[in-house]
């Protein structure tokens, strides 16, 4: 079965240390939320990801499957390789306001 890309948005901006929790996924934090994006190979993989999210005390805001073309189109231009986080510590110290 071929992988599909998914975007899971969780509440709260996550620091870079969370990257190690989501192997093979890209994290980007902005506007009080964090997007976790990457390929999901099958339903067990997706459930594993959701378990991981729950185990870290995170709340899912939305879950979106992105099919291959959309994934290309929707992927933010600043997406970085797997495991690397797009994170701006300055943005979090004082909040989004």
């Amino acid at each position: 079965m071929s992988a599909h890309r998914y975007r899971v948005v969780v509440e709260g901006e996550l620091g870079p240390r969370y990257a190690s929790a989501f192997d093979g996924m890209t994290l980007s934090a902005h506007d009080g939320r964090t997007e976790i994006m990457g390929p999901i190979v099958d339903p067990s993989h997706l459930h594993g990801l959701l378990d991981r999210i729950a185990g870290l005390g995170l709340t899912v805001h939305s879950l979106t499957p992105l099919d291959t073309e959309d994934a290309q189109a929707e992927a933010p231009t600043h997406t970085q390789p797997a495991g690397v986080i797009d994170y701006d510590p300055g943005a979090n110290a004082k909040g989004p306001t």
Binding site: G55, L56, A91, N92, G95
Partner: protein, 739 residues
């Protein structure tokens, strides 16, 4: 040492007593089930634990983990815990669970019967139910919920709604639910927490914190740890409230930063350990003072949970453990887990060692550990776990070590798994034999041939005997450890094939091997075969002595009647029958038959049914005997080669025909009425006529009238004769079992 699964967590002195929630739990009315259902960090475990401390009734606590997807493992642990209530509450359930291929529901029914007999109130807590995913395990819990006796309560904690039929319970108001909405801290509760911790925070500050954390208890406890050593808590809380960062992320970072570097490193590095003792920490970290560090942490912080056990065990709060692990690089985590696996292995904590190695992704070590310990698992009643790990291993490793798929196939056979699964595993080891002949050994050969004899060729007595012969030949090439098992299997195959003298000779060989008692299944099986042959050939004293030895040995070793003792019970039945004790014979034959039951028809079960039928014919319980015979015949027809079973079936059939002729060709002059039958059933129990009248609410004279009519219709002249004829005609049979 008690099982870590059954250890109770201690409640830290700093935890808040949450009166409103404790009252919710107390006030359960007639609800059998209470579910605490909320995400990680909502204080579910802490709440249930502090509630349990205040209970007067006994509390049974079990923490579930993913291995409980095997319902037999789950219920064996739970029945063991329940059994500690005393009075043998769990004994019958445990006995059922010891039978291979058991339907767990029957064991659960026994456990519920045990609780009914126990009578007193009892609370059973299943913590972390979300760890269980399999439908069979969740279904078995649902089955138990429906049958909980009045005095028993089940309390479960979970992160997600379990599939145990909640909707139905909700509708019938038989369910108490405590969810995130209730578990979240109120402003008052948060205020109380901060005052107790001596934190000088304004009312506005408390409001801000509760709003920012949405009352999430883990967030507030972390906030308390963070703020208690700060001079300007209000200012810091305002900064936190203005941040968009995730609550757990922000607060953990703050708490960890404030800790001395040495303590922080200790926490981060030990976070890979699920449950740990100071010794395990010492071994993993290469230090000697973990005991002191842990004692101090357990005193001052709320994220380290001490478990009620000696020696002292600890675990981190689930959320905190996860967050700590984020600080650790993947390579470092792997190395720490490898060291933990090594320590556990040296301590004989093999399951933990395998788990650590598996989490470290170290399949090689898992394979190595399984190769080393496969006999312990398979002979120690943990074939299910062994099979689970074999399935987890990558295919290439299975091909590299053909013993693993071969032993996996043996385990699958022992668990009465579908034959296709056994075949698939055997096929992997066959592939290895072709592709890597250097990995093959007489040992692997013996395991494969034994599995073929016992499982795959189970319905072909000739083929089974041939495979068993090859297994014995392989063990002669220096695989002593499997000799007893191979000889027992060969002896059984010869027995079913009809070569009784040869069967007996081989059984004796197995029994006389010096290591025989160390191989309980093979030993008990061989003793049983010896008893059976002696029973069939009229050596009654020897048969009875040997059978009792086998049954006693099995009870001592397996703490229950194991299925391997089936043959001994059948041998004992024959001996009892030949020495004029038909009641005892029937009890033993029925026990032997029950122990042989499994999902699939087997030659052994068909044979047990025939022995039972034979005994029942002798007791004139002809209708039951006919039904046993019919079931055995249905199985025999499916077997490619059932050896001597068709011949035994014919003999039983002839005996049955003769017995039927003796009771008047199975007919009565006139059928007894319902009222007469009621009296007849009482006659069979040995009640006096006066007692029968009292029980049936009829006069003594009416009893006498019915009695007279019964004698006439059955052509009997005494109570014993009437009962015997009625039994033979199947008039008494409401239930199958005599006890």
């Amino acid at each position: 040492m008690i099982e870590p699964k059954l250890m109770l967590p201690r409640v830290h002195a700093g935890m808040l007593r949450r009166t409103r929630l404790l009252e919710m739990l107390d006030d359960h009315g007639a609800s059998a089930l209470t579910v605490l259902d909320a995400g990680v960090g909502y204080g579910k475990t802490t709440l249930v634990r502090s509630w349990c401390i205040e209970r007067s009734e006994p509390v049974i606590w079990m923490t579930l983990d993913p291995a409980d997807d095997d319902p037999v493992r789950l219920w064996t642990h739970l029945a063991t815990a329940v059994d500690r209530l005393g009075q043998g509450v769990g004994a019958r359930a445990l006995r059922r669970l010891g039978v291979r291929g058991v339907q767990v529901e029957t064991a659960i029914d026994e456990l519920m019967n045990g609780l009914v007999a126990y009578g007193g109130p009892v609370t059973i807590v299943l913590d972390d139910l979300h760890a269980v995913r399999s439908e069979t395990s969740l279904g078995s819990i649902g089955h138990a919920i429906e049958r909980l006796p009045a005095g028993a309560r089940l309390v479960v904690s979970t992160r997600s709604d379990p599939a145990v039929g909640l909707a139905k319970l909700r509708a019938s108001r038989a369910l108490i639910e405590v969810r995130a909405r209730e578990l979240a801290f109120t402003v008052d509760e948060a205020q109380e927490l901060f005052i107790r911790e001596g934190i000088q925070l304004s009312g506005e500050g408390v409001d801000l914190l509760v709003e920012r954390t949405e009352g999430w208890p883990a967030g507030l406890y972390l906030a308390a740890l963070w703020l208690r050593d700060l001079d300007d808590p209000d200012e810091r809380v305002r900064a936190f409230a203005g941040s968009a960062r995730h609550v757990g992320d922000y607060l953990t970072a703050e708490v960890l930063t404030a800790l001395p570097a040495e303590i922080r490193d200790f926490l981060v590095q030990t976070s890979v350990l699920g449950r740990f003792t100071p010794e395990l920490c010492d071994a993993v970290l290469g230090r000697e003072d973990s005991g002191a560090v842990l004692a101090e942490l357990a005193r001052s912080n709320m994220f380290l949970v001490a478990l009620d056990a000696r020696p002292q065990w600890y675990r981190y709060h689930h959320l905190f453990g996860e967050l700590l692990q984020l600080e650790l690089g993947r390579e470092a985590a792997r190395e720490l887990r490898r060291r933990a696996a090594e320590w556990c292995r040296a301590q004989g904590l093999i399951e933990d060692a395998i788990e650590y190695a598996a989490t470290a992704g170290d399949a090689e070590s898992v394979a190595e550990l399984l190769l080393e310990t496969h006999l312990q698992f398979i002979r120690g009643g943990r074939a299910g776990q062994f099979l689970g790990w074999v399935r987890w291993l990558p295919h290439e490793l299975l091909v590299e070590h053909p013993l693993l798929p071969a032993a996996g196939a043996a385990a699958a056979g022992l668990l009465a798994r579908p034959e296709v699964e056994v075949r698939r595993l055997l096929a992997v080891s066959e592939r290895s034999r072709r592709e890597r002949p250097q990995t093959w050994s007489p040992y692997v050969e013996a395991v494969v041939e034994l599995t073929r004899a016992e499982v795959i060729e189970g319905g072909d007595v000739g083929a089974a005997a041939e495979h068993a012969r090859r297994a014995v030949a392989a063990t002669r090439a220096g695989v002593d450890v499997l000799s007893v098992g191979a000889l027992a299997t060969l002896s059984q195959a010869r027995f079913f094939a009809g070569d009784l003298d040869e069967s007996r000779r081989i059984a004796v060989q197995a029994i006389e091997r010096p290591e025989a008692p160390d191989v309980p299944e093979g030993y008990v099986g061989s003793l049983g075969l010896l008893a059976l042959v002696d029973g069939e050939q009229g050596r009654n004293d020897s048969a009875e002595r040997t059978a009792r030895e086998a049954i006693g040995f099995a009870r001592r070793h397996f703490q229950a009647d194991a299925w391997v003792a089936s043959l001994a019970h059948l041998g004992l039945a024959l001996a009892c029958l030949a020495t004029g004790r038909p009641d005892e014979a029937e009890r033993e034959a029925l026990r032997g038959e029950q122990l042989r039951r499994s999902h699939q028809p087997t030659v052994g079960h068909a044979h047990a049914l025939l022995v039972l039928a034979q005994v029942r014919v002798a007791r004139s319980r002809l209708a039951l005997a006919a039904s046993d015979l019919k079931r055995a015949r249905a199985m025999i027809e499916e077997f490619p080669n059932a050896g001597r079973l068709p011949a035994i079936a014919s003999t039983v059939e002839q005996d049955l025909t003769v017995a039927r002729a003796n009771v008047g060709n199975g007919r009565v002059a006139e059928n007894p009425s319902e009222a007469e039958l009621a009296v007849l059933r009482c006659l069979a129990t040995g009640l006096s006529r006066r007692e029968i009248g009292a029980r049936l609410y009829i006069s003594l004279n009416t009893v006498k009238t019915h009695n007279r009519e019964l004698y006439r219709k059955l052509g009997a002249t005494s109570r014993a004769e009437a009962v015997a004829r009625a039994e033979a005609l199947g008039l008494l049979e409401r239930t199958e079992s005599p006890g």
